[in-house]
């Protein structure tokens, strides 16, 4: 955050304002500069802002106040910027990467599909031949995808070791989608071969996931 004060060398109020803002800037780790309107740079800025009075205060380039502020008023003026900086810190490094975003999003889609099984059969554990379809839309589609997204996001942050990313995550995702869809459609349509293909693809996605996560947990062993 940048604080600029426009002053006129000979005005006592300006000295007062400079004291308040220099202290506030130091307290909150902001950049602070003072510009005199008797200098070319200061004069140009005053003209651009159509300033009538000094001292005038700019925060991040925007005119925010004129006159002398008390330290309490200074704090109030800085509040929105401080909040924003705080929010940015909270976000930093915590946001999902695109692959994990897609895992989480897909999990919700599968959850809604699995829920259809509840509407149609009254239970995930219905007694008909297609029982494993909706059950695995929930377990493979929702639970597994949630774990894929959350564990790949959190574990590297817990241990400080990098996870295998890039092509590996997308391969894992492709295999998992192929797996759940193949498996569920296989049961619903009664195609045994498709069931097995889906089962194998789902298992391979799990194997890729394990391969990605292992060095996060045991860095020297890999």
């Amino acid at each position: 955050m940048k604080i600029e004060l426009i002053v006129s060398g000979c005005c006592p109020f300006c000295l007062e304002a400079e004291k308040v803002w220099r202290a506030a800037a130091a307290d909150h780790g902001c950049e602070f500069s003072v510009m005199d309107i008797s200098r070319a740079e200061g004069a140009a800025l005053a003209q651009r802002l159509k300033l009538q009075t000094v001292p005038a205060l700019l925060i991040d380039g925007t005119l925010r106040a004129v006159g002398v502020q008390t330290p309490e008023e200074a704090l109030t003026l800085l509040q929105p910027q401080r909040q924003e900086a705080h929010d940015r810190m909270q976000q930093m490094g915590l946001g999902f990467s695109p692959d994990n975003r897609w895992f989480i999003l897909a999990a919700q889609a599968y959850l809604m599909l699995a829920g259809l099984g509840l509407l149609m059969n009254g239970s995930f554990l219905s007694d008909d031949a297609a029982r494993p379809a909706f059950l695995h839309l929930f377990t493979l589609g929702f639970m597994l995808f949630m774990i894929y997204g959350l564990a790949s996001h959190m574990l590297p942050r817990f241990t400080g070791n990098p996870i295998r990313e890039g092509a590996w995550s997308w391969l894992q995702m492709g295999l998992a989608h192929g797996g759940v869809i193949g498996y569920a459609v296989g049961y619903l349509a009664g195609w045994p071969t498709l069931i097995v293909v889906g089962a194998v693809l789902a298992w391979l996605s799990l194997a890729v996931f394990a391969y990605r996560v292992w060095p996060v947990l045991w860095p020297t062993a890999s």
Binding site: H86, T139, M143, I147, L150, A151, M154, L155, F158, T159, P192, I195, V196, A199, V200, A202, W203, L206, A207, F209, A210, V213, W214, L217, W218
Partner: protein, 134 residues
């Protein structure tokens, strides 16, 4: 991350692969593995993969989110032992049609669940020790 918690996550991965594998084998030829394979598969996945993954991650992150250290490290260690002694017994019981083994394994598995539940209740608590940042 505590070694025990990394073990939980690693063991979860192994159970996930194992549970998927026996399901695939059963799909290809149901006579290859004896016993109640779907039931064993279901519980390897749910108790072995999902729950152990949750154990490992929750034991690490819930104390941090809650603002208190883990109430008891030994409880969490015993949770690891019980969970991993119980599940193999349950699987052996289902695959060998021995209900007593399922029962014995179930008691151990349930013991792990209780150890985890109490440890977490005593760790997270209802109020944080630290005030939220102003």
């Amino acid at each position: 991350m505590h070694k025990r918690n990394r073990l939980f996550v690693s063991i979860a991965l192994v159970y996930g692969l194992l549970g998927g594998l026996i399901a695939i084998v059963r799909l290809i030829d149901p006579s290859l593995i004896p016993g109640n394979v779907p039931r064993a598969h279901g519980h390897i996945m749910l108790l072995g993969f999902i729950l152990m993954m949750i154990y490992g991650i929750a034991l690490h992150v819930l104390p941090r989110f809650g603002g208190f250290p883990l109430y008891s490290e030994p409880m969490a260690d015993w949770q690891l032992y019980c969970a991993n002694a119980g599940l193999p017994l349950m699987i052996a019981g289902w695959l060998g049609w021995r209900d007593m083994l399922v029962m014995a394994g179930g008691v151990l598995t349930y013991g792990a669940i209780v150890l985890f539940g109490l440890n977490m209740i005593l760790t997270v608590r209802t109020k944080s020790r630290t005030l939220p940042v102003q």
